[in-house]
């Protein structure tokens, strides 16, 4: 990452103001953002959701979503004023000289056409090259991006290709006209860590190979540290600060930036090991489970003791959530047994007593779908209080207010709101309160922080930790994020393909020797060091990261 600021300026965004239409009036969503981008330079835009990152990214192409307008400022791309440019001028630039890579490749490809047909569309339309040349070029790009079978993979339909491969195919598609500028909008957010690293390496390589300038939008600092030459931090539509990557990482100036940096430092003190003869709160004994005839869990066993947190780690498809479904009784296992404080639980939740159901609660990943959008917060939390505690009227109301206090949301302000009137973090807190309302012993937290911004996620983790200390709860913490594990777990269970690969105390797990799979997981978590990816690639080689490495096991 050499300094590229002396090179020709490609894009200048000057005092950009954007407004969004909400209900009946225009509300400012971006309040004055300016930056320059030089040829071959990568700018990282970071900030929480709602900070206006994506809106700025799109505005840099002269494009706004429906219900958004450019209220002021200028966007100048290579001498062309994109704010006032005619549709014809923009049409000639977009796709050809400016390309866009969206967050969800699966949603951005048209499922009815083959990947290569979508790839060749832009070059042919723009008259850059003919169809045959473009196809040959696509295969070359696929090879550069290390997609398996580059000759053949383009002739598949999008659903026949995995998420990480699709994201790389989309990057290849953006490259098809050799644009001067690519805008990456959270391209790896939806991917597993092991897949993410492959996509990161591919994007970085191709951007360097073709000397393309890029705007890289993300909320993950560690990722942007690998990709960007310079970083710009946004908060609620206003710029906080901008500096080159190393300066930004080593000496952030603003309080907000410092707080972002500090998030990763949260770590709970280790707890003493449970007594040898203690009865675990939840004991999973040799569970084998299947969807239909396909076995997805093979002889899984682990114990969760009172007041402790067990993190279950693994990629998507490794059976983490299925294990949780077995414990809750949604998926009765084929064989094996689950014990609650030494007493076997009926396999099907319908056969469990109300008290047994009360003891095991669940907090979901997507707070949006976990809360009934038509009920107020008071009703959502009040229902389990009434259902299990058989409290009504004043007693119920007092308990709901107590729970809202416990999750640090003032009752007077929030009790009558609907979930749609809350932020993501607040919704997740309500989910926690609903679980607490049952007065349980054991809570399953299914990826509770993965949909949240880092600062908000840290708040949730601290809340969960405090509640555990106060109420003596046990957590089963399902996650793929090892930073979260480091922050909150006491014990770690690593799963792969429905099997427990390794389990033990947190300290043992983060120190070598590891099982090769644990090692791969650990090494794939980006660190806040701008050289991390370069060093990792040098150390392991391009063939020993990501899915390629998983396949070798």
């Amino acid at each position: 990452m050499t300094d590229k600021s002396h090179r020709d300026r490609l894009l200048r965004v000057c005092d950009l103001h954007l407004e969004g239409r909400s209900d009946e009036e225009w509300i400012p969503i971006v309040k004055g953002v300016s930056f320059d981008l030089h040829k071959g330079e990568v700018l990282g835009l970071i900030g929480e959701s709602g900070a206006g990152k994506s809106t700025v990214g799109l505005a840099a192409m002269g494009f706004t979503r429906d219900g958004v307008r450019i209220a002021g400022g200028s966007v100048e791309f290579d001498g062309v004023d994109l704010v006032n440019a005619s549709a014809d001028v923009k049409r000639n630039l977009l796709g050809k000289r400016i390309a866009y890579v969206a967050q969800s490749a699966a949603a951005s490809f048209n499922p009815a056409h083959k990947i290569i047909d979508q790839h060749t569309e832009a070059p042919v339309q723009h008259g850059v090259e003919g169809r045959a040349d473009s196809e040959a070029d696509a295969m070359e790009l696929y090879a550069r991006l290390r997609l398996p079978n580059p000759e053949e993979i383009g002739f598949r339909y999008p659903h026949q290709v995995s998420g990480g491969q699709l994201q790389r195919a989309m990057t290849a598609m953006a490259m098809s006209c050799r644009p001067d500028l690519i805008i990456f909008d959270e391209p790896t957010t939806a991917l597993d860590v092991t897949t993410q690293i492959e996509v990161l390496a591919a994007i970085r390589k191709i951007v360097e190979d073709f000397d393309t300038a890029a705007i890289y939008i993300t909320h993950d600092l560690a990722v942007v540290a690998q990709m960007a030459d310079r970083i710009k931090v946004l908060l609620k539509g206003e710029e906080v600060e901008e500096a080159d990557t190393r300066t930004m990482l080593s000496s952030p100036q603003q309080d907000y930036t410092k707080s972002l940096w500090a998030v990763r430092s949260f770590e709970r003190p280790a707890k003493p090991a449970p007594a040898v003869d203690a009865v675990p709160v939840i004991s999973v004994n040799g569970i084998t489970a299947a969807y239909g005839t396909v076995e997805v869990l093979h002889d899984v066993s682990f114990d969760i003791h009172a007041g402790r947190t067990v993190a279950v780690v693994g990629e998507s498809g490794s059976g983490k959530s299925t294990a949780a479904r077995c414990i809750t009784g949604l998926l009765p296992p084929v064989s094996g047994q689950i014990e609650l404080e030494g007493v076997p639980l009926p396999a099907d939740y319908r056969q469990r007593s109300r008290d047994q159901l009360r003891q095991v609660q669940m907090i979901y990943q997507m707070a949006d779908t976990a809360l009934n959008p038509r009920k107020t917060i008071g009703e959502i939390i009040g229902r389990p209080v009434q259902f299990y505690g058989r409290m009504k009227g004043k007693g119920k109301r007092a308990r709901v207010e107590e729970l809202l206090d416990a999750i640090e949301m003032p009752p007077a302000q929030y009790i009558d709101r609907l979930p749609s009137e809350l932020s993501g973090g607040q919704k997740q807190r309500v989910g926690i309160a609903r679980a607490l309302a049952a007065d349980p012993k054991f809570i399953i937290c299914d990826e509770v922080t993965s949909a949240l911004d880092q600062l908000v996620a840290e708040g949730i983790l601290r809340l969960l930790a405090r509640l555990q200390d106060e109420l003596g709860l046990s957590y089963m913490f399902i996650t793929h994020d090892l930073a979260t594990v480091r922050a909150i777990a006491d014990e770690v269970v690593v799963m792969k393909d429905g099997r427990v690969v390794e389990q033990g105390g947190k300290r043992d797990m983060f120190q070598p020797p590891h099982h090769p799979y644990t090692d791969l997981l650990l090494s794939s978590v980006p660190e806040m060091d701008p050289d991390w990816l370069t060093d990792l690639l040098a150390e392991r080689g391009v063939d020993n990261i990501g899915d390629a490495a998983v396949d070798k096991m």
Binding site: E24, D66, N84, S86, A87, D88, T328, G329, L330, Y349, R352, R354, L357, V360, Q361, M362, Y364, M366, T369, A370, L371, N372, P373, R374, K375, R383, P384, F387, Y388, R434, A438
Partner: protein
């Protein structure tokens, strides 16, 4: 020759569109309005202008009586809808005022018409000048109330072949047709909604049995099926002493409930996979709580929209059955029967528009309500974000 004329016309329009855009660009300078206008859009504008000009020309023609009435009706209804919406924007609570501010004119029109129909249907006995079965002195009085053309000021919309006042029958028809259609739709929703929700929530064999049964019912063309059942029912109705109308309500409700079942099952199917339903199940909640407290509140918007549409279909089915003679039985007034009874007057349209209007009044009443309900439904679907751009 005709083909050539049409081709020349289209070519002329295309040229005009091109000129329109070029002139607009020159006159407006660099403003995006004309600069980014596609040729298709320019053609659309020019075509609309041409159509409007043709409309004005037609309006001024002596013979185009019906077109003139249609235009006048359109203008009157637009103005009424606009006045109604303006009124709603300034009267009422903050919430209703906001509702009216966001409302398109079509929805305001729809709501206004539905309100008028409701009032007329409920207070038919008070509003109607004569009884629906009352046979008056003169048969076949022409509408318009102008004695010179054969009208009578006492019967502004004229009388039918046996001398009953058409205005009164139209008003009572609102009560009979709309009232029965409303009851039928409610019954269809009670049936279809209940079974649809049950099928989606319980799944398994119940879902299979219900869905296959509904498939069988849906496989038979609905109007012919209804006719067949009504023929059978007319025999039973005499034996049992139950009015045929009751059978009609049940038959149409059952046939239409299959469509409601499909929708309710699909909507509930999307809701039962949500995490909050899983949370409620894991809490140990019963079926009643799940359906009424968790699923139903989230299914109201699409179901309400379907209610509007389904009401139109039921309404048209009843009118069709009545037109065919097996629906609402005389002497009760019904719009479908009225259209059938007066249908032969349509032949006078060429030389005596006043006389030909009589069957069209009932048909127009049906059409107006159908259009109004559809406008409101469209708007509701839009609001529940189903059809947002």
């Amino acid at each position: 020759m005709i083909v050539l004329t049409i081709l020349a016309g289209v070519a002329g329009l295309l040229a005009a569109a091109w000129a329109f855009r070029a002139i607009g660009r020159a006159a407006a300078g660099g403003r995006p309005r004309f600069r980014d206008m596609s040729f298709g859009e320019a053609f659309g504008w020019v075509f609309a202008a041409a159509a409007l000009a043709f409309g004005v020309w037609l309006y001024l023609q002596e013979g185009a009586v019906f077109f003139r009435w249609a235009v006048q009706g359109f203008v009157i209804f637009s103005v009424a809808a606009w006045v109604f919406r303006t009124l709603g924007r300034h009267v009422g609570t903050e919430a209703t005022r906001k509702l009216f501010r966001q409302m398109p004119l079509t929805a305001a029109f729809g709501i206004l018409v539905i309100l008028i129909y409701a009032v007329v249907a409920i207070f038919a006995g008070v509003i109607a000048p004569y009884g629906q079965e009352q046979v008056l002195a003169n048969a076949n009085v022409v509408a318009g109330g102008n004695p010179a053309l054969g009208g009578d000021p006492a019967f502004p919309l004229g009388t039918d072949q046996i001398g009953r006042d058409i205005l009164s029958r139209l008003i009572y028809g609102a009560q009979n047709t709309v009232g029965i259609a409303f009851a039928t739709t409610c019954l269809a929703f009670a049936l279809g909604g209940t079974f649809g929700f049950l099928a989606a929530t319980l799944g398994g064999w119940l879902d299979q049995v219900l869905s296959r049964f509904v498939d069988v019912l849906m496989a038979i063309p609905s109007l012919i099926f209804a006719l067949l059942l009504m023929t059978i029912a007319s025999v039973w109705a005499n034996q049992l002493g139950v009015p045929l109308t009751v059978f009609m309500v049940v038959i149409i409700a059952v046939i239409d409930s299959t469509r409601v079942y499909r929708l309710a099952r699909a909507v509930a199917g999307n809701i039962v996979v949500m995490d909050y339903i899983e949370a409620a199940k894991l809490r140990g909640e019963g079926l009643g709580y799940l359906i009424f407290k968790e699923i139903l509140p989230n299914a109201t918007a699409p179901l309400l929209a379907e209610f509007g549409l389904r009401f139109c279909f039921v309404f048209l089915t009843i009118a069709s059955l009545s037109f065919l003679g097996v629906g609402i039985q005389p002497p009760a007034a019904d719009w479908g029967t009225m259209v059938r009874d007066l249908a032969q007057f349509i032949n006078y349209a060429q030389f005596a528009p006043q006389a030909a209007i009589t069957p069209l009044l009932a048909a127009g009443a049906i059409a107006l309500l159908t259009v109004a309900v559809n406008f409101v439904v469209d708007w509701m679907l839009f609001r529940s974000s189903g059809l947002k751009e």
